[in-house]
Amino acid sequence: MEEIKKIAKELLAENKVQLIVGFEKGSANKVRPAFFTKPEEIDQLIYNEYCIHNIALYLKKDICQKANNLAIIANPNVVRSILQLASENQIAEEKIKIIGISFEGKCVGLLDFKAAEEFSKTQPKGIKPEDKALIEKIQAMPLEERFNYWVEAFSPCIKCYACRASCPMCYCGKCNVETNNPQWIPVAPHKYGNLEWHMMRAMHLAGRCINCGECNRSCPVNIPLNILSYMLSDFILDEFDSEAGMNAVFTPALSVYTSVDKENFIK
């Protein structure tokens, strides 16, 4: 942690960045996202095993958009989000300094995009064993049962949109669910409104989601949305050999036509 603080302090002291996005102590035993603009504020900066939130989310918010340049305390999920955002032309390399931290909590120093790509590839991928067990259970279900599983899983959704608000890849200025002429997705949080919303969101994230799991962590009613996106990512990796969050120059599988596609039907 001292190394992270040292780097952060220097970046601010030497005016290399205007803003640092990181963490500070939160309520009770929580940590919370925090924004630092002066070297002396860095004393409040913390990094520990609870700092798992994907703070890359803030890169598309006002506070970061207004800064000319900034640094971010980046665990591998944050690094992957940055690479994915870069590939979608949402963040420029010259604007951001990445203070990389491995999943084990080891600071790897400042990363440019090239180094970030390397770092991203060395870090473990995948999800928790209990989530894996649930995926296997879902995959073993016949189609109809699987469909009903998801209808049931989405039913407690209250449409607070914390999943969308906490997702670095959900940066659309106007979400499809807010388009009301015509109304594509029912706004009401009833059975089909919830199903259509989550299906739409999953499809828009397919091949772009970096599997940080923030959607699930932020959900007040704990819907396993991370599993849905993971299953899609896994499918896209298998079918298209395409994986989000690994390269700063990257075209998501569902946005590109290529003649060397594994599938034959489209040729």
């Binding site: 009770a28 924004f35 209250i158 029912p186 009613v221 704990n222």
Partner: protein, 338 residues
């Protein structure tokens, strides 16, 4: 009505729940499923989680569900036939084993829905709801009811308040006519009691500020930079509003299929950008800081001025649910000393 003091054995709760159910009432109580505690319909006392500090969501959905039908309509050749909701079909409900803050939440919510024009669907639901709450034996870091005129054994809003005074017994305060109706119907389950001092049996929650101070401070803070500062990490979701027992904002959605349609009321939140978006594209609350300021002003300035009720009961649900750890008590404390 003057409070009637009674005792009820813990072992009698099972009979109470069963008999309420057999009488045709629907009983909702905190139930923990997959690690989450929320109000759910129960048929026996074994299903109830008496140990949780607070449910994730408040009890407000019993009177203000996340989505409900307001009316249905049918277009004919030259007319529209509107079918109102049949209010007689609204069931009698018991909110059981909620916390005093859950009960208190119905007061500002009622003010929202009934103080100018009376929302008949809401009013009928609330009329048909009886609230049997249980005083809090414990609190967590997010509880702050004592700072907003509540307490762990506050009777406001409850029809009956139970306070655990021994391993085997609850002290039962019968507070309202609705509570008395329950007492009269199941009188054999209750025993007479003198007034009991509840203090030794409930959680101690330090008072951090007062609603009067917040209300007074807000008079000069509309243009303050405190809102920018506090809302910096707010992600702009609606989790806080949706789990709040006192948030009553809603959206109206018509869903038409062919010639028939349904008009729904769904929860809405002032934290959403789209909440104040005009058709022109102009948004009078274009920044998240302005939306956060609205949340605090509505609860601590507009509601008390217009409806004589503060819109916060200190349950701490918003802070527990917030994905970016916006802690309302901490923010209010900062406002109190600004």
């Amino acid at each position: 009505m003057e409070i009637i003091n009674k005792l009820i054995d813990k072992s009698s709760l099972s009979a109470l729940i069963e008999r309420l159910n057999t009488s045709g009432k629907q009983v909702y109580a905190p139930v923990t499923k997959n690690g989450l505690c929320d109000f759910a319909k129960v048929e026996s006392v074994q299903e109830i989680d008496f140990d949780s500090i607070a449910t994730i969501q408040s009890a407000k959905s019993l009177v203000f569900p996340k989505v409900e039908k307001l009316l249905s309509y049918e277009k004919t050749y030259d007319d529209v036939i509107v079918k109102e909701v049949d209010l007689t079909k609204i069931p009698e409900v018991i909110a059981f084993a909620g916390r005093p803050c859950d009960a208190a939440g119905f007061i500002p919510l009622n003010a929202i829905f009934t103080s100018d024009s009376v929302d008949q669907i809401f009013k009928t639901r609330l009329d048909k709801l009886s609230i049997i709450s249980i005083s809090c034996k414990k609190a967590d870091d997010f509880c702050f009811c004592t700072s907003v005129n509540g307490s762990p054994s506050n009777t406001s809003g409850s029809d009956i308040l139970l306070t655990e005074i021994s391993e085997t017994t609850y002290y039962a305060e019968i507070i309202t006519e609705k509570g008395k109706a329950i007492l009269d119907a199941y009188a054999d389950l209750f025993k007479d009691s003198a007034v009991v001092d509840k203090t030794p049996f409930v959680a101690k929650i330090d008072k951090q500020f007062s609603t009067e101070i917040i209300n007074e401070k807000l008079k000069t803070l509309f243009e303050s930079d405190i809102w920018d500062h506090q809302a910096m990490r707010c992600v702009g979701c609606g989790a806080c509003a949706f789990v709040c027992p006192a948030c009553g904002c809603f959206d109206i959605q018509d869903e038409t299929k062919g010639k028939d349609g349904v008009r729904h009321r769904c929860w809405d939140s002032c934290g959403f950008k789209i909440f104040t978006m005009h058709t022109s594209g102009h948004n009078p609350r274009e920044k998240q800081a302005q939306r956060w300021r609205q949340r605090i002003f509505h609860k601590f300035s507009y509601q008390p001025e217009q409806q004589q009720e503060f819109g916060c009961v200190g349950c701490g649900r918003c802070s527990r649910a917030c994905p970016s750890d916006m802690n309302i008590a901490e923010h209010l404390k900062a406002i109190a000393v600004k």
